[in-house]
């Protein structure tokens, strides 16, 4: 499964990097993203809603990192 390491990046860079990565993927592909900026918990789902991608999961790991999984829809 494709994975994007967006740790140590601050808002909005995780969103920008997710957008760049998604453009290389095909509809139906699932991407997981790791972040340290908890703003990503709001921003990446918002970006998915605007772009029509599906948010499959978002959570804070025991390490404090944010993990987000999305399915590419277009």
């Amino acid at each position: 499964m494709p994975h994007l390491d967006a740790r140590h990046l601050f808002c909005p860079l995780p969103v920008i990097r997710v957008g760049e990565r998604v453009r290389t993927l095909a509809p139906g592909d699932v991407l997981t993203v790791s972040c340290t900026d908890r703003g990503a918990l709001q921003d990446i789902p918002a970006w998915c809603r605007l772009e029509g991608h599906e948010l499959l999961a978002s959570r804070i790991e025991p390490t404090g990192e944010v993990s987000i999984t999305i399915r590419v829809h277009r």
Binding site: P12, I16, D37, G39, D43, L50
Partner: protein, 352 residues
């Protein structure tokens, strides 16, 4: 919509969407005129997006939210967030129109962003550019004599529409061609934002109100630290890590050839740990305290001084001596036992 004035083709506008009130309203006005609107937002590295709060653990429960993303959600439009960190350096370092009160190159910045939006418009088959600029609202970039400069230098010319002040300005191409109805645009000017606030309330729009503005370059304290960085290097240059580090910690310059960045709490210490591979770092070994990065060149006596300052900020600051670890980027570590710098004797001029 007046069918007599409107074209049958739905025209497309790209809006510079900052997430603030004015661009939100400008975008809404275009949507109300039946224009297809998409937002564009540029990330320069200096944008205020709550980075300091994101780093500091004591406040990190308050989620960072990218204002323009949430403005776009309210409007129901797509938003294109574009990384311009590298290109933007020339704007900061060589502003043709100079700086504002601090290191804010506002006219060049706006010209740059509108210029990038123009390129995007042309590449994506859009018809015009919209901004939330208001005549007379900003002392540099929104004056009657500088608004045309931005239109000209960006290459947008009359494809740049400012809906909030349009009726005070010459008609633009979208108005002349009837893509938008000029009579439904506004004639706002000046710094009074009551009309915009009333419009937002009437339209049920929520918007960001950054207390310190939306750009660190307008912040006196940040600008002082950036100038210090350039002075210490003997040249005006920066990389992305430089400008991020200026947002974090206490910055203390005891000597011209080095400065210390002192974490203020656990979150900042954690953030600074990510830079241990680039800088000498120091910390007290037997008592709680900050992680300290040393930026610059340090002789042996400088390391002792840096250790004493590190000890001053640790919990053992009142002890006779504190043991401090000094670690070089390659991994070489030594420990020195130092007398903490007296709490009330750290010269104020060392603080940046």
């Amino acid at each position: 919509m007046d069918p007599g004035i409107r074209s049958q083709v739905q025209r497309k506008a790209v809006v510079l969407l900052s997430g603030g009130l004015d661009s939100l309203l400008a975008a809404r006005m275009m949507l109300e005129q039946g224009i297809h609107v998409e937002g564009i937002n540029f990330y320069t590295g200096f944008c205020v997006e709550g980075h300091t709060h994101a780093v500091r653990w004591d406040r990190s429960r308050r989620a960072v939210r990218h204002s323009a993303l949430h403005a776009a959600e309210q409007l129901g439009i797509r938003l294109h967030i574009i990384d311009v960190i590298d290109e933007y350096k020339d704007v900061v370092l060589n502003p043709r129109h100079g700086y504002g009160a601090h290191l804010n190159p506002c006219i060049d910045c706006k010209g740059f962003m509108v210029g990038r939006a123009r390129a995007w418009m042309e590449a994506h088959g859009f018809d015009f550019i919209v901004t939330g600029e208001v005549l007379g609202q900003r002392p540099k970039s929104q004056r009657r004599d500088t608004l045309p400069v931005i239109a000209r230098e960006s290459g947008a010319f009359d494809r740049l529409l400012r809906p909030l002040s349009a009726r005070l300005l010459p008609p633009t191409l979208p108005e002349r061609e009837g893509w938008v109805d000029r009579e439904r645009l506004l004639n706002l000017s000046g710094r009074n934002r009551k009309p915009q606030i009333a419009m937002a309330q009437a339209g049920g729009l929520a918007y960001a109100q950054p207390a310190g503005g939306c750009c660190f370059l307008t912040d006196a304290h940040y600008a002082r630290k950036l100038r210090d960085l350039w002075n210490s290097r003997g040249e005006r240059r920066y990389d992305f890590d430089d400008i991020m580090l200026l947002k974090i910690g206490r910055h203390i310059r005891p000597r011209p050839h080095f400065k210390l960045i002192v974490g203020r709490e656990e979150g900042e210490n954690h953030f600074l740990e990510g830079y241990r591979h680039r800088f000498i770092h120091l910390f007290a070994t037997d008592t709680k305290g900050p992680l300290v990065l040393l930026q610059g060149e340090a002789e042996d006596e400088d390391l002792t001084l840096a250790a004493a300052v590190t000890a001053r900020f640790c919990q053992g600051r009142d002890a006779e001596t504190v043991r401090v670890s000094i670690v070089r980027p390659g991994g070489g570590e030594e420990r020195r036992t130092v007398t903490p710098w007296p709490v009330d004797q750290l010269p104020r001029e060392w603080y940046l």
